[in-house]
């Protein structure tokens, strides 16, 4: 029970801080809309090929928004020396990490609440419940990995460069499976296999990152 209450306290603390400062989500939402506007003008698409282009734009916007969101998750803690204050308590690093990842997931979901309707508006594609589920599943796994590497590079000066270098290769499975699933759903096909694969990746990385959190968070 205690790890759960610690994780929830950490997540609530991050969300309260973001709600009061409004540093991240408004900027990310603007970035997402701008990315879609640029893609709207940059790609030559019509009603026939929109379902082929829109998933790519969706994942590109999500990946870059995610890198910014996860990068901030631990950088601020290191700058304020508050991560050490948390680690100086009996709370387990895995619980602290879970709380940070949960907050990052919720913040990215808030950005997706802007991204998905905007995608439907700009590209004229159908965003149904299956597309939303696929994006949410990918967000969970990507957030776990993103937060793990963000914690790893937070003490490094070149963290803005290192984070994408470490994270992007391991996000490829999510982008491939998520891209296939969204494309199938927008085209009216079945995405069951790709969604099942995303779920497998989520479970795998949830376990791996929880085990690695202890070694990453503690010096």
């Amino acid at each position: 029970m205690r790890p759960l209450s610690v994780a929830w306290a950490v997540a609530r603390k991050d969300l309260t801080s973001e709600w009061r400062t409004r540093e991240l989500v408004p900027a990310l939402a603007q970035f997402i809309v701008l990315a879609l506007v640029i893609a709207n003008f940059g790609f030559q698409f019509d009603s026939h090929n929109a379902t082929a282009i829109a998933p790519g734009v969706l994942w590109m916007a999500l990946v870059f928004a995610g890198l910014v969101a996860f990068g901030r998750a631990f950088a601020a803690e290191r700058e304020q020396a508050s991560l050490e204050a948390m680690l100086m308590t009996p709370a387990t690093p895995a619980a602290i990490f879970a709380g940070k990842a949960l907050a990052a997931i919720i913040l990215l979901v808030a950005c997706e609440a802007v991204l998905l309707p905007a995608l439907a508006l700009f590209f004229g594609v159908q965003v149904n419940a299956s597309v939303v589920l696929t994006v949410l599943l990918a967000t969970v796994g990507m957030a776990m990995l993103g937060c793990l590497f963000a914690a790893m590079v937070a003490r490094v000066k070149a963290r803005e460069l290192l984070l994408p270098l470490l994270t992007l290769p391991l996000w490829i499975p999510f982008i491939v499976a998520g891209g296939q699933a969204v494309q199938a759903e927008m085209g009216g096909g079945s995405s069951d296999q790709a969604v099942a694969l995303l779920l497998d990746f989520d479970i795998l990385f949830l376990v791996l990152t929880s085990l690695a959190a202890r070694y990453v968070l503690e010096d």
């Binding site: 205690r2 209450s5 610690v6 306290a9 950490v10 603390k13 309260t16 801080s17 009061r20 400062t21 304020q80 020396a81 508050s82 050490e84 204050a85 948390m86 680690l87 100086m88 308590t89 009996p90 709370a91 387990t92 602290i96 010096d219």
Partner: protein, 214 residues
């Protein structure tokens, strides 16, 4: 009974020796002042005592157990004030304490009592980022005593505190074992039973006993 037994504590940063074979002990309920000029190794020693840093060499026992091996369990019995305040600037002083109370697994009623003890009542609802440096230091001390630790490790706790600081610290230290790093010999005389001098990572002389003024 010894609260702390440090044997041959050595710490290196690369090839640089920060602490060189330090031996000392602290009895339960005793207050030890660590004195030394800048770069003497005081902060490194205190971080090791707080289990924030693992010594490169040597053994440290706190309350009879290996401090590094049992660090997670021991942290429930240690309160640490470091150089960096480590507060969340958007959260109020009270919310900061409530958050750390959850992480410590402490009784939530301790928050109000600690705010009262540290004289933070008037600013309890103000964001920590808007507190004066002195109040931020009080908040850091409040966080360190929130879980009623038996050992306090305080790195220059008087920094930015006003004239009430020594009395406040005296109240906080009561009934606890404490190790305090300070530049202020007068404060050491007022709060501590003994001093331990450090110079360039080495002990200077033998730990001296002070005339305690309580």
């Amino acid at each position: 009974m010894s609260a702390i037994v440090a044997t041959s504590i050595t710490h290196r940063f690369g090839s640089e020796i920060a602490l060189d074979s330090i031996d000392f002990g602290v009895d339960a309920g005793e207050h030890l002042a660590v004195l030394g000029e800048n770069g003497a190794g005081k902060t490194t020693l205190l971080r090791i005592l707080a289990t924030a840093t693992r010594p490169t060499y040597g053994t440290l026992e706190i309350f009879g157990v290996d401090a590094w091996a049992e660090r997670r369990r021991l942290r429930a019995r240690i309160g640490f004030v470091s150089h960096a305040p480590g507060h969340y600037p958007a959260l109020s002083a009270k919310e900061n304490l409530e958050f750390f109370c959850t992480l410590q697994g402490a009784d939530p009623r301790r928050v109000a009592a600690t705010i009262e003890m540290l004289g933070l009542s008037e600013v309890a609802d103000r964001p920590a980022g808007r507190l004066s440096r002195g109040m931020q230091q009080r908040l850091a001390i409040a966080r360190a005593v929130l879980h009623d630790p038996k050992l306090l490790v305080l790195d220059e706790p008087d920094a930015s505190l006003d004239a009430e600081g020594p009395e406040l610290l005296k109240a906080v230290l009561r009934g606890r074992t404490a190790v305090i790093a300070t530049h202020d010999q007068a404060l050491a005389n007022k709060l501590c039973h003994r001093t331990l001098g450090l110079r360039r990572g080495r002990l200077v002389g033998v730990p001296s006993r002070l005339r305690v003024v309580h």
